[in-house]
């Protein structure tokens, strides 16, 4: 399921990333890699703040829905 549907506070594992090559590479360099852990810190109207590799990343809904967990 897309990251947008994961519950806040729960640790999940990235299964894959959809979308354009460029987007995927950018997300990878930020730490979103297959098998990596992601936790949603907070949610605001679909936009998310997530914890990935100890960094806080803000993602819009469109971007978060490209990350499958």
């Amino acid at each position: 399921m897309p990251l947008t549907m994961a519950r806040t506070g729960e640790k999940t594992t990235v299964r894959g990333i959809h979308g354009k090559e460029e987007t995927r590479r950018f997300l990878e360099s930020l730490g979103f890699v297959e098998g990596g852990k992601v936790t949603i810190v907070s949610e605001m109207g679909g936009n998310l703040i997530v914890n990935v590799k100890d960094t806080r990343i803000a993602l819009s809904k469109a971007m978060a829905s490209k990350i499958m967990v």
Partner: protein, 719 residues
């Protein structure tokens, strides 16, 4: 020979703070050739022969963003003697991803393990010796904010450069990948420099477009390379770039287990603050409260005190009489005294009066940015801005533009998407800047003294124009498509480093001072000359009656253009044009034109004379709207030119702003006059209604880029 040190690292890892610490005030800020990515250089303190370069903040060395390409090219082509790689120890795992790439480039690397104080405070432990051994380069603990360790790193880097110590990357990939890399290395042995062979083989394996383009491999080598790479891809069932990425992270994960001990993985203080600050309900009220305090202090309270002091005490009571006295004592001609005291000192002084106010505002904005709150603001506003076709990152330039448009336009650099960035540049100066406040105060005071909400209303009008433009422009072919999805790292909250805040504030504010010293300095002299000299019956000379001056003649030529807007007289025309030099000139020009000398926007004589220029109050409103919305001052136009990097786009931006300003002022003057001030309904009103209809059409038309591809829509129908 000079030693070149380069600072590389992720965004928000404290790179700029360390750079400031290392170079002090000897900085030179410019652009990397050909791109609008900032380049900062400076001399290492205490070493005249050591140059430090601050590379852009990047997450990796892939070829996908400008910043990454700039960094790569710099390291490959300019060969810095040592790269100082800053690693944010508080999120070491992600930061080391870049480190594994930097160490491959065949340049000596030293690691500054920054923000080590945060790690220690959290009770975590990092084994730096093990880490150094595993990465193949020295690791030194630092805390740039506290100024600890920076000097040590730089000194060690200089020693390394002098001693010629090399860095050998220690990390390896899995067997099959290493096999493939070895084969590629052999294949390309004659084509790439030996010291960078490792880096080139990895890039060739990744099919890096820029490297392939530069190397221009012979066809047979290319075919051979493709076989090697695709064999490996089949084995892993993944593309080559992802294989490398995953293996890098795997290597780092292994490293984490052996070198880093985490006390607990619970919520950090930063998370707890975010829980409140980015809360669904509290986020906007908190933001509004913060902004209210910032503007109240910097514009209303403290700002007014210092501005009044600068204007009234420093210039009016001290500098002007002093200069006048000197000139008289020196026996200067009357016209020269007039030029210097009233023209130049008066004009430049009026501008410098804003400087303290501007600096206080930028001081607060720098604090908000430095402590990490601004990144959250972009996140909070993204939800709202997205509805109008802009991204949350567009909000920060607009906030800064409320002080001065020049740094506001420069702040658009953080927007990666080119369309979003251009649109933000085109709309950000709609927000009234500090220099436009006197225009608002003047018109509000002279024409609408009973309406107290006039000033805030102009800000809302600015926001309205931004939204209107966002929606309209998004529906044209040039800007079609959703704003880029929002992704942004949120740095941990921390107390801002005073030095960083001050440098930041100065960088933003200095454009204003430079403007006062250069453009305005000259323009004030020119306007003073044009207005005091003219051709009379007795030939060319100083004129008593200003209606005879050259300025009146020039204004008279331009004035008819503004007639439909309700201010087709030469005074208002000249005031509007002088606003191009600097918006604060508009008020000053009126003052001079009414023969009142140096006046403030609340001068009673000026307030009394002004309404005579306008047919109705609607015309006065139109005058204000036009001057707030049209092309910004020359300094801001220059900034637009630099950021757009294209004359065509600059003209388009200026044309768009002026066109919109003209249409808005036209509608206000014609319809406002007809509905509220009894102007008879005529052709002008009909045309104004047509403009409204055209705007509504552009605003609400359905947007289908496919259809538009076949049949280009006509834009700007209202003009």
């Amino acid at each position: 020979m000079a030693i070149k040190l380069a600072l590389a690292g992720n965004p928000n890892c404290g790179k700029t703070t360390m750079f400031n610490d290392l170079t002090g005030s000897s900085q030179y800020v410019g652009n990397w050739p050909g791109v609008t990515v900032e380049k900062k250089e400076g001399k290492l303190r205490g070493h005249q022969d050591v140059i430090v370069t601050d590379l852009p903040g990047i997450y990796s060395l892939s070829p996908y963003t400008l910043e990454e390409v700039v960094t790569r090219d710099y390291i490959m082509n300019e060969h810095p003697d040592v790269v100082i790689n800053l690693v944010d120890a508080s999120n070491i795992e992600r930061n080391l991803y870049l480190t594994t790439q930097v160490t491959e480039m065949g340049i000596p690397v030293i690691i500054a393990l920054n923000m080590i104080d945060i790690v220690k405070k959290n009770g975590d432990r990092i084994d730096t010796h093990k880490l150094a051994a595993a990465l193949g380069c020295e690791v030194i603990e630092t805390s740039a904010v506290k100024g600890a360790g920076s000097k040590e790193v730089a000194d060690r880097a200089v020693q390394m450069a002098r001693a010629g110590i090399m860095t050998r990357p220690q990390h390896t990939f899995s067997g099959p990948v290493e096999d493939a890399l070895a084969r590629i290395r052999e294949l390309a042995a004659d084509l790439v420099p030996a010291e960078n062979a490792r880096w080139y083989s990895i890039k060739l394996f990744e099919r890096d477009a820029r490297v392939l383009e530069r190397l221009r491999l012979p066809a047979d080598v290319k075919a051979e390379l493709e076989t090697i790479v695709s064999d490996c891809e089949k084995q892993f069932d993944d593309d080559s770039e992802s294989i490398i990425t995953n293996e890098r992270y795997q290597y780092i994960s292994g490293l984490m287990k052996s070198c880093v001990q985490k006390k607990n993985a619970g919520m950090t203080t930063s998370d707890r603050i975010d829980k409140v600050v980015t809360n669904r309900w509290l986020a906007l009220p908190i933001f509004a409260a913060v902004m209210f305090v910032v503007y109240y202090v910097s514009v209303s309270w403290l700002g007014t005190i210092v501005t009044d002091w600068t204007n009234d005490t420093l210039f009016a009571e001290t500098v002007q009489p002093l200069a006048g006295g000197w000139l008289e004592a020196a026996g200067a001609a009357e016209w020269l005294t007039g030029l210097v005291v009233d023209g130049i000192i008066g004009g430049v002084g009026a501008v410098l009066g804003f400087v303290p106010q501007m600096f206080i505002l930028f001081f607060f904005l720098s604090i908000l940015e430095d402590c990490g709150y601004m990144a959250r603001v972009a996140f909070i506003m993204d939800r709202i801005f997205r509805k109008f076709g802009l991204s949350g990152k567009s909000f920060i330039p607009m906030l800064i533009s409320s002080g001065c448009g020049v740094p506001g336009i420069m702040a658009t650099r953080t927007i990666e998407n080119e369309k979003d960035r251009r649109m933000t540049i085109m709309t950000t100066t709609f927000i009234p800047c500090g220099a436009k406040l006197p225009i608002i105060a003047l018109i509000a005071g002279a024409v609408f003294p009973e309406i107290t909400w006039m000033a805030p209303a102009t800000y809302f009008f600015g926001i309205f124009m931004v939204i209107l433009s966002g929606v309209i422009l998004k529906k044209t072919r040039m800007f079609a498509g959703d704003p880029a999805p929002f992704v942004m790292e949120l740095p941990q909250y921390h107390f801002p480093a005073p030095k960083g805040v001050l440098i930041h504030m100065w960088e933003r504010g200095k454009a204003f001072i430079i403007k006062a010293g250069t453009v305005i300095f000259v323009a004030c002299g020119v306007i003073w000359f044009l207005q005091n000299f003219g051709f009379t019956a007795g030939g060319f000379g100083m004129v008593e009656d200003e209606n005879m001056s050259m300025l009146a003649a020039i204004g008279g030529v331009i004035a008819p253009i503004f007639a439909p807007l309700g201010f087709g007289n030469w005074q208002a025309a000249v005031a509007s044009v002088s606003g191009l030099v600097a918006k604060e000139n508009v008020v000053g020009t009126f003052g001079v034109l009414f023969g009142l000398g140096e006046v403030g926007e609340d001068d009673p004589a000026l307030l009394a004379s002004l309404p005579t220029l306008f047919a109705t109050s609607a015309s006065a409103l139109a005058f204000m709207v036009f001057n707030l919305t049209c092309a910004p001052c020359f300094a801001a136009i220059g900034a637009i030119r630099r950021e757009m990097m294209s004359a065509k786009w600059t003209w388009f931006a200026i044309g768009y702003m002026t066109g919109m300003a003209y249409i808005m002022a036209f509608i206000i003057n014609q319809l406002g006059g007809a509905f509220f001030y009894g102007v008879p309904f005529g052709a002008g009103q009909v045309l104004a209604l047509c403009c409204v209809a055209a705007l509504l059409y552009l605003l609400f038309r359905s947007c289908n880029p496919d259809r538009k591809m076949r049949k280009p829509a006509t834009v700007g129908a209202g003009a």
